[in-house]
């Protein structure tokens, strides 16, 4: 059993009591809600005649269903409009703060909450969305929950949970030029598998992790769930504090100094015990791309698509399915694979630095003929800051579309979808069958800079060949 880790410390602070079934009643310090997984929770609350216990600890935004071309109300899709209207009504009824369209603070829930300073070290963060693991980047315990649990959190600000084991993933060295947090996490998931993290919280640590910006750290923790780990976290440090300083909801004045003292005390002790430890060298990682139908099916840009027969036995069937579905041939290089659509955005990679890095590749170049390429900022704040820096113009001049914030084509619950057999280079997090809105559409996951490179060349490209000063 782990001890002395950040996970243990934060868990202890939030433990309400042991429940008869053997799980723990865990207090939730920050509850984030959105339009997709909350309506049925509010209905259940009403049916049981229950109130929202701590309305000030729940924050709402709208992201999954918002159109990114025209956000005029009412939305042209009546179902989307109904979902948004339902959320607005529920927030109003229960006194919950809602960051809606036109509020200047709306965005993908895992982008907007950190940038407002809502997410802080030492918190427990829950949201009806599996990518809630993102918030672990701040040294919080953050995890996705289902709608029944959203109901429970609304009613009691707590939920029933079993304590996870803790695996430390120590990354030595530093990432090479042209290699980003996305490549690192795709590499880790490839190594440990898509279910390697089931039952674990992942602590990401080591020199290569410490050198990452908060946005890079969020990319890492965001995809912990793709490796099966319900939450991933990084110990808070000066980078964390620097990011939080002055944010709208961050503590101010004397409170700030006290907060830092507490936050520092939460980091895993030097003699902390982990249930498992893994070490890898960050310097040897290359730009990484998925070729298959699970996020674990990734290879470096210099590798060939694996031959299913040569893989470990338990990976063979899914690899065969993947080759068939993707219509990609084994033993062929992934580099040079033709692309139809390029998508930059999502809770994984829709932040300012993601757009900035991608824009450096795009600057002064043109999107290859026949490619549909678009950028969807993760939030209204990201959009605004990107415009101030002229990043939108770089993309527009290259032939990208520049959209309004939302989840967009990451999961296609809105008008942004692949069509037919189209294949996308995507900065999002899931390459599941049908994920991007077409039942036979195909997705290659990669870093935003790699997506930009694919857009310029019309095919999967080693971004390092396009790096410019």
């Amino acid at each position: 059993m782990s001890s002395g880790t950040l996970y243990d410390k934060v868990w202890n602070f939030h433990q309400v009591k042991e429940l008869p079934g053997g799980s723990t009643q865990l207090f939730v310090g920050l509850h984030l809600i959105h339009e997709v997984t909350s309506p049925q929770a509010f209905s259940a609350l009403n049916e049981k005649n229950l109130e929202v216990k701590f309305p000030n600890l729940t924050i709402a935004t709208v992201d999954h269903i918002v159109p990114t071309l025209n956000q005029q109300r009412p939305f042209s899709d009546p179902l989307a409009e109904e979902m948004l209207a339902t959320l607005e009504k529920n927030c109003k009824t229960h006194g919950i703060k809602f960051h809606g369209i036109g509020s200047n603070s709306q965005g993908v829930v895992h982008v907007m909450a950190p940038e407002l300073g809502l997410t802080q070290p030492g918190m427990t963060v829950a949201c009806g969305d599996s990518h809630t693991s993102t918030h672990g980047a701040f040294g919080a315990i953050a995890f996705g929950i289902g709608t029944s649990q959203v109901r429970d959190v609304l009613a009691s600000q707590s939920l029933a949970m079993k304590k996870l084991k803790v695996r430390r993933i120590w990354v030595d060295g530093s990432l090479q030029k042209g290699v980003y947090a996305k490549d690192l996490i795709l590499h880790i998931i490839r190594l440990l598998g898509v279910k390697g993290g089931v039952g674990f919280a992942y602590e990401f640590a080591g020199p290569a992790i410490e050198k990452l910006s908060m946005e890079g750290r969020m990319t890492i923790c965001n995809m912990a769930i793709e490796g099966g780990a319900r939450c991933g976290y990084i110990n808070p440090d000066e980078t964390t504090f620097e990011y939080l300083k002055g944010k709208e909801y961050s503590p101010k004045g004397q409170k700030w100094d006290k907060a830092i003292k507490w936050w520092k005390s939460l980091a895993s002790d030097s003699e902390a015990k982990f249930d498992d430890e893994i070490r890898l060298d960050g310097s040897s990682i290359e730009p990484t791309v998925t070729w298959g139908i699970t996020p674990g099916q990734g290879i470096s840009i210099k590798e060939k698509i694996p031959n299913p027969e040569e893989l470990p036995k338990n990976e063979q069937q899914i690899a065969k399915d993947a080759c068939k579905y993707m219509n990609l041939e084994a033993d062929q290089p992934i580099e040079g694979t033709s692309i139809d659509v390029c998508f930059i955005g999502s809770c994984t990679n829709g932040r300012l630095s993601d757009l900035q890095e991608a824009s450096k590749i795009v600057k002064g170049r043109k999107v290859s003929a026949g490619i549909r390429a678009f950028v969807v900022p993760g939030s209204q704040k990201v959009a605004k800051e990107a415009k101030q820096k002229g990043i939108d113009q770089i993309f527009l001049m290259a032939g990208f579309e520049w959209r309004e914030p939302g989840c967009s084509m990451c999961l296609a619950m809105n008008p942004d979808k692949l069509e037919g057999r189209q294949i996308s280079a995507s900065s999002s997090n899931r390459n599941f069958k049908g994920r991007q809105g077409s039942a036979n559409g195909r997705t290659l996951l990669m870093s935003p800079a790699m997506v930009a490179a694919a857009a310029i060349n019309g095919k999967v490209t080693d971004v390092r060949t396009l790096l410019q000063e």
Partner: protein
Amino acid sequence: MKQEFPKGEINLIKGRILAIKGDDIDTDRIIPARFLKCVSFSALGEQVFADDRKELKGKHPFDLDQHKGSNILVVNDNFGCGSSREHAPQALMRWGIRLIIGESFAEIFFGNCLALGIPCMTASKQEISKLQNLVNEDSNQIWNFNLKELSISNQKESFRLNLERGAYKMLYSGKWDATSQLLDEEEKINITVKNLPYLNNFK
């Protein structure tokens, strides 16, 4: 006839099995995102595995006549990975599934099923494969699941199943619907709140 949704103590489940083969079947496949555009779960039963079923043009297990009315689902490894959408177990439940047996389950999916009173039982790869083959040979067999005995059996065969202790207790005692338990001792919640630095000006 529509079965009632699970309630109270879960112990005995009787019925026919259908099997879905394959590892890492994610919740996007169980219920594609476009069906999440709803403010109620009620219509999800018909949409379960929508894209897989469309692709197989009526040959998908959830479309075959012989599986109509089946209430036990047998799956392989890491079933329910990906998105946390409770719409996935809701869709399975509304189609008629009351019990799932697999090699392993993704964590959030497992918890979502538990919150609906649907046990996710595990068995070894070999046992699952044997069970799947038996169902392929004869899908009309009636099986009896017994939570207390951690087993599922028909007249000839019996399989041993596993479930972690906490989930077992919750299902067996009927306390899988957590809300009332969580509200049981409000004072303890308030004590936790008082001791959380970030809710008390970091004092």
